[in-house]
């Protein structure tokens, strides 16, 4: 049931190349995070999400210092190794200081075009709106130049429906996991979500629909199992989910930027695109990288963890991610006050030895089992 998804994540380059050819759409590499891929789709592009990878760093070190996160480094490594030849252009948002400067480096060393959607970080609503409007116009023009196709009202509405459908189906999968912890192995679950980074929407939606159908009559394993909610930027390295599976730990919900924070975003309303994108960015789950005075991230996470019935929360920290590192101490304190047990793991996407992580998770698991 999960093998088609595993095939995709095990053969990313081949998959992308195959669909690039069969769908005749230029591949646009989408940098972390929250770039509305509907715009790429509407312009006739093929959005492929880049959330980092596990390549060992050989070339990116000549541009990025040791204090840059492995997300940025591994994405750059992919390009510098010549493994991202199929990517015709990049789409950035101004998510963090590292990515802002990474775009500048790309601009100097690559001949590939890029578009940047600056994310307004203001409480001034009118300013947010007008700034987004300018940003979206510039992105649309840039994408049209890359693909050679115009973004029309109809193409935008179709793209919004297609991408909205993806997230709706993913949310259904999340709901099944919440309702039946353990029904889907953690490694399988995140493979399904990860496959979506690389597949065209139509094909992915079909696969998700089939999967949801197959899951209908299955039953979750019996007995007491440990339930957790992880929080962090990206749900890699995937080997960690194998450790969870081994230890009978069920992730019942998550707070990953490329997990629920993205999946929770509703269908973009395109009749007023600026308002639609504004809601897409700010009215879903809060993110440590996105200033949003309207939602208190502490309250949000406390409620999320309690609602999920989790036994504890796991801070999944990608080294050198400053936005996440700033939030963590106060957030941990708040969760402790609420009686929610917590633990944390420090990771690099490029790590190959998981002994320390496993020891930590095992210890946490024992505590939660009481």
């Amino acid at each position: 049931m999960f093998s088609p998804f595993h095939n995709v994540t095990a053969n990313v380059s081949d998959t992308v190349r195959q669909y690039e050819k069969s769908n005749s759409r230029p591949v646009i590499g989408v940098m972390p995070a929250y770039f509305p891929m509907e715009l790429i789709e509407a312009a006739g592009g093929y959005p492929v999400q880049l959330w980092g990878n596990n390549l060992s760093i050989k070339h990116a070190d000549s541009h990025l210092q040791g204090f840059c996160c492995s997300v940025a480094k591994s994405i750059m490594e992919l390009e510098l190794r010549g493994s991202a030849k199929m990517v015709k252009a990049y789409a950035f948002t101004s998510l963090c200081d590292t990515l802002v400067n990474l775009r500048e480096i790309y601009d100097r060393i690559l001949i590939k075009p890029d578009v940047v959607l600056p994310l307004p970080m203001t409480r001034t609503m009118e300013a947010r709106r007008t700034y987004l409007e300018t940003g979206l116009e510039s992105v649309k023009t840039g994408l049209e130049k890359v693909t050679g196709s115009k973004i029309t009202t109809a193409s935008l509405a179709d793209a919004a429906e297609l991408h909205g459908k993806t997230r709706e189906l993913q949310r259904a999968l999340y709901q099944i996991r919440r309702d039946s912890p353990g029904l889907i192995k953690n490694f399988d679950f995140y493979t399904v979500i990860k496959a979506g980074f690389f597949l065209p929407r139509f094909e992915y939606n079909q696969m998700l629909t089939d999967l949801l159908g197959s899951l209908q009559n299955l039953k979750a394993p019996e007995g007491k199992r440990v339930k957790i909610v992880p929080t962090g930027l990206v749900f890699d390295p995937m080997d960690i989910f194998k450790i969870f599976d081994e230890l009978n730990i069920d992730v019942v919900d998550d707070d990953f930027a490329n997990g629920w924070r993205s999946v929770s975003k509703k269908t973009i309303q395109t009749d007023d695109l600026v308002e639609g994108v504004s809601q897409y960015l700010y009215q879903a789950s809060p993110c440590c990288c996105l200033y949003n005075p309207d939602i208190d991230r502490h309250d949000y996470l406390v409620n999320k963890i309690k609602d999920s019935g989790a036994d504890g929360a796991l801070f999944w920290y990608v080294n050198f991610c400053e936005p996440d590192a700033f939030d963590a101490p106060q957030l941990k304190e708040r969760l402790k006050k609420e009686g929610i047990p917590i633990s944390s793991i420090d990771i690099e996407l490029t790590m190959t030895n998981f002994d320390a992580v496993k020891t930590r998770i095992s210890a946490f698991c024992e505590i939660l089992e009481g």
Partner: protein, 399 residues
């Protein structure tokens, strides 16, 4: 370090500034980032307090590591900016040279120096339970645009409303104009002082200006700031006229990119002097030196304000950074440049290897990147840095 008589005035005004802030019963206190539009605060009689300035002060006094330890024990990772860790630790322990900062009534931060400040100030806002006002001044990927200026101005107006609500008084436009004029005067004077660095031998080097920049950061918009730089200017001008260099036998002239290494200011100052190398320009001190002048054709005070806060070195795209560095090298007759790859400042540092390569290609002048940190001494090695610098000096042609 060059001895300027004005240093005693600076010590006095900075002491007065902190004493007033620590003892005031009437004036509200706002904690503010170094690149935020402070003029709005002075116009409403609000005392701005700069955690960055305070953190630099802790490091210069060799007290940063003690408070950094406190912050790290409280859970703040070594991965976050060492200024933030210094301030968090000083606040938690009431440590540092002035026993912590006066409590804030609200916070004002601007993103033109980094996005990190939002996270930093969110932590403070939560800890102190005070309002946070963010003025988003976006990065200039493609230079100045009308959209960016309008976006900034729109937030300035919102800030005026916020301040009026906060103080219970209408925003004082007349006072604001006066403050703006004082801010301009101080900026012009500071720019003129830095401009005298062009003189051969340089009468003021960047180790000096790192120290003397405190008032332009903290007191910009006040008469005392204007008076101070007028006093300092006279001294520097006199030295320039008489060709008195900041170091004996100036042989090399270089630029410093990024923040200083505060806890090594004295040792590095001595080391550079021994090597007969004067740091005659620094992008950091220039960031308060009217970089935006002539960049946008307008006389509208709000537009000028927006442009001055947008067009700040660290907020510029690489094309403009490279051209600016090349211009400084040319203008100051430099023999090379030193880039501080600062673990605590990603926007200043990431991409630096590429910048070094391009600036050398453009100017023909050698450059070096040294790996360090503005406040965290654990990532600094005297032997390693000095050996690398010595090797670099050998690659330069003397003036």
């Amino acid at each position: 370090m060059t001895h300027f008589k004005a240093i005693s005035t600076m010590k006095e005004i900075m002491t007065n500034y902190y004493v007033e802030a620590k003892t005031t019963k009437e004036k509200p206190i706002a904690w503010i980032t170094s690149g935020a539009p402070v003029e709005f605060l002075y116009a409403m009689d609000i005392i701005p307090i700069y955690p960055e300035n305070h953190a630099a002060m802790c490091a210069s006094a060799h007290q940063a590591m003690d408070v950094i330890d406190v912050a790290e024990s409280a859970g703040y990772s070594q991965d976050i900016c060492s200024y933030a860790r210094t301030d968090f630790g000083a606040d938690l322990s009431k440590g540092g040279p002035i026993g912590g900062l006066p409590e804030p009534d609200f916070l004002l931060c601007s993103t033109n120096i980094c996005k990190t400040v939002i996270k930093w100030y969110e932590v403070i806002a939560r800890r102190k339970n005070v309002p946070l006002f963010v003025v988003d001044i976006p990065f200039l990927h493609e230079g100045l645009t009308r959209g960016l200026i309008d976006y900034s101005i729109s937030q300035f107006h919102d800030l005026e409303n916020f301040l009026a609500d906060f103080t219970g008084r209408p925003f004082d436009k007349d006072r604001y104009d006066e403050v703006l004029s004082l801010s301009d005067k101080a900026t012009i004077k500071w720019t003129e002082i830095l401009g005298l660095g062009k003189t051969i031998p340089t009468p003021i080097n960047s180790f000096d200006s790192f120290i003397h920049m405190a008032p332009i950061v903290t007191l910009r918009g006040t008469q005392v700031c204007v008076d101070y730089y007028e006093e300092l200017y006279k001294e520097v001008e006199e030295r320039a006229k008489n060709k008195i260099g900041s170091i004996p036998d100036e042989k090399y002239r270089v630029l410093w990119d990024n923040l200083p290494i505060w806890f090594k200011l004295s040792r590095l100052g001595k080391f550079f002097a021994e090597q007969k190398c004067a740091i005659t320009a620094a992008t950091y001190t220039n960031s308060w030196g009217g970089m935006s002048a002539g960049k946008w054709d307008t006389e509208d005070p709000y537009e000028l304000m927006a442009v001055s806060y947008l067009y700040n070195y660290i907020n510029l795209g690489f094309e403009e950074r490279i051209n600016y560095l090349a211009e400084l090298i040319e203008m100051n007759s430099l023999t090379g440049f030193v880039m501080h790859s600062n673990r605590s400042c990603k926007p200043y540092s990431i991409g630096m290897y590429r910048l070094q390569e391009e600036v050398t290609k453009l100017t023909g002048k050698p450059g070096i990147v040294i790996e360090a940190d503005q406040n965290d001494g654990r990532v600094y090695s005297d032997a390693q840095i000095e050996t690398r610098l010595e090797a670099f000096f050998e690659t330069m042609d003397p003036i």
